[in-house]
Symmetry: C2
Subunit: 531 residues, 2 copies
Amino acid sequence: MNGENEQTEVPLGPDGKPLSKKAQKKQQRDAEKAAKKAERAAKTAAEAEVQEADDHAQDRYGMSKMIQSQEKLDRQMCRVKDLDLSKAKQTVWIRARVHTSRSKGKQCFLVLRQQHYNVQGLVAVGDIASKAMVKFAANISKESIVDVEGVVMEAKVESCTQKDVELHVHRIYVISSSEPQLPLQLDDAVRPITEEDEEAGPTVKQDTRLDHRIIDLRTTTSQAIFRLEAQVCQLFRETLNAKGFVEIHTPKMIGAASEGGANVFEMGYFKSKAYLAQSPQLYKQMAIASDFDRVWTIGSVFRAEDSNTHRHLTEFIGLDVEMAFNYHYHEVIDVIGDMFVQIFKGLQKRCVEEIAVVGKQYPCEPFKFLDPALRLEYHEGIRMLQEAGFEIGFDDDLSTPAEKLLGKLVKAKYDTDFFVLDKYPLEVRPFYTMPDPHNSKLSNSYDMFMRGEEILSGAQRIHDPELLIERAKVHGVGLESIKPYIDSFRYGAPPHGGGGIGLERVTMLFLGLDNIRKTSLFPRDPKRLTP
Amino acid sequence: MNGENEQTEVPLGPDGKPLSKKAQKKQQRDAEKAAKKAERAAKTAAEAEVQEADDHAQDRYGMSKMIQSQEKLDRQMCRVKDLDLSKAKQTVWIRARVHTSRSKGKQCFLVLRQQHYNVQGLVAVGDIASKAMVKFAANISKESIVDVEGVVMEAKVESCTQKDVELHVHRIYVISSSEPQLPLQLDDAVRPITEEDEEAGPTVKQDTRLDHRIIDLRTTTSQAIFRLEAQVCQLFRETLNAKGFVEIHTPKMIGAASEGGANVFEMGYFKSKAYLAQSPQLYKQMAIASDFDRVWTIGSVFRAEDSNTHRHLTEFIGLDVEMAFNYHYHEVIDVIGDMFVQIFKGLQKRCVEEIAVVGKQYPCEPFKFLDPALRLEYHEGIRMLQEAGFEIGFDDDLSTPAEKLLGKLVKAKYDTDFFVLDKYPLEVRPFYTMPDPHNSKLSNSYDMFMRGEEILSGAQRIHDPELLIERAKVHGVGLESIKPYIDSFRYGAPPHGGGGIGLERVTMLFLGLDNIRKTSLFPRDPKRLTP
């Protein structure tokens, strides 16, 4: 999966569509340019040595020794995002990547990047910079990391995030140089896919991105996605902690395939076997039986499911919630529903910039939700589908197309991208789901949806060991493998419920992205275990 | 490992020491009492039916139907910890466990528990309660969950956490009843081990606790331990987020045993193989190469190490930190050192109650630290050991006894339980450790210690691909297996460093506990995969 030549091998655009002639040509031109640039860089280095003797700027640029903590420098580094008119005429140091460099006569323009911020740098032949220094700057390979000393000057630079200033470079040293030929171009990687306009330029297909994930993650879009994803977790924690929840950690290696044998990864465990937990389900319930009252956990979840879709991963991050309640599991739905409302509100407040950055490449309607969250019953959902001409019965499980359509119908009727679907048929839910007290075909269970895709599955759980045994038998679950779990309800257990959320799905659907691989840092699917 | 009879089988105290005669007798008496109580409960239930006809309180007590969300009750439940004089004479509802029940003439005294809080309940024959109701209350098995309506009355109850009030019970219903015979007694499980005083009563040995973990977790000590552990994570996050770090999630299933083949769990991955990550090391570094600048991650870490000690687990929670720095890796030590100081300060401020509760069972000196944290160089540590008569050379790795002794020497000299040991010999560190620039035998690496045990290992990492390859070869690490990792430094990478912390060790050592199994919710070791 590390085909570094993949991009040049077959001239395909994203999603495997062949590139237009023009785009192909541009791609080729880019590659040629990069090669020439590398050649020039080598030549320049050689020339520089010759010229050194009569170079008045010779101490002002060069390749730095590898930083091995040789010395402690008392140098204040400035952040690129802080470069604005308030710093005009000040001399500052920054460490940044060379996003692009372009020479023009006796000048060299650099775009210096720090995460999703960038500023223009200017090296111009004169009292400070020499011709050799300009040449040196022009030949620094893209993505190299440089230390730059410069004076902040007023300027109008529309193409950078720091629009009001540029940096007049007085010193520039390469701290870590990039190989001249990149496996993918950052500018290509953030280009929106516009089917109408093939002139726009090449884009990068998903597998190339993932093979060279560390470059793809540097784009403004990726930086924004993962900073927003971190906020999803942060808001999840803040909201639940404020509601009296406690963080716990549950084991991933378990002695028995306790949630059913299918889709579970098996591993060696010293002289015996173990399995990777498909969820923290049983353990978070045991924490409730252990008097933790309300718990949450964030951790890896493993599914040995051979599903190669836009929304399945073999390893993802589960945000799990479980709580004791008093009399009715809607107490749980209320807590989780409000938690989602707080997450959505928080994201729209804290991540304005991130949402805008991602929207530039992947345009999408802003995420809509109601407060309090909308709760529909399963049979209402089925009826909406039937009325829309979709063939489905009241006891059937929802297929992916049914979920998608229901999401659209609910959006049209209630103007919300988020809703709770309550009271699923008992038959389609796991053995530990509490049956409905009034209708033996139904259960006290629910899913939650964002833009028509399931992001949480939850229920009231059975807290009575005898009923649990009865239901496990109906589902054909081996009692021996779940003995410690069942036993944990023998010494008094409060009624309780909860749910499990897929983090990457929440991020994907909040931002309206098309593939879960975009929201997993190093995604795992049946065909991908690297990088 | 689910031997419910284990405790009665061999009369051993904790750590396998045989119980004294007196303690043995007490244990036997307890078991007999419980059995008799169960018998009585069954008898009473039968009697109750007979008596029902002339029972004026017959609606005021009984077994509740299993709560299946039959109805939504608009009943305000009070928390036990909120029961004090401010509520005197008020009628309240609580849901709690019956910690103990004891009848005395026409009265029954209950201790009603909610996590680590408890209050006394009183059922007395009179206008409200009947003789049958008192009998019913007296026979509720320990650990059952009850709903109680009662009037808060002024009282002096030294043995409960709510000392100023008791609850005069008007109604009592069993919500979830416990089996009458518990696999371990909560009072035994919180009893301090006092070698001098065998009269104190039986304690519970570790394996019995772990086999019946959900009971053991209900003790005041366990509740306090895990609430404090949650605060360790919370303070870790707060401190790092305030310093500009971003949360990331790294894959646990990896394609190659990239940190060395020993001690790694192997698993099936569809038609191929995978390994469980021994740390997020390589991935957090790749996040730095991807411009995330400063990252942290909390997640499960797996070690297939056949170590059966007080401080090794096969699965634990890693708190990992990685950051780019400017010129010297001491920038990293300063950040991590200060982070620990903030964690210690935060725990001592927020967890006063938890520390006190744990200290009752496991007495221990309060944790001491300096601000800023003490940093010693490795050779200074070796010299202190040598001066104390310990045989060790400057190039030797520290053994566990050496670490323990050094901890004591440092405590005696500097009065701190926490310190950083810097500049380890290169030879004893992993291949990706940056060599010292001035002394080829040393490295830019450090460990951090709490009470003489290592809780963090960290270093400046090599960010130059050529040096990385050279060092991997020296260590005999297969280059093919780490190609994606090495390649991630080819396109510009900032100097960076970090460290990995074992959560359970931090909790254990902060509280001065003797075994890491006490600070892991459901611990995993070479011999234990359940519950």
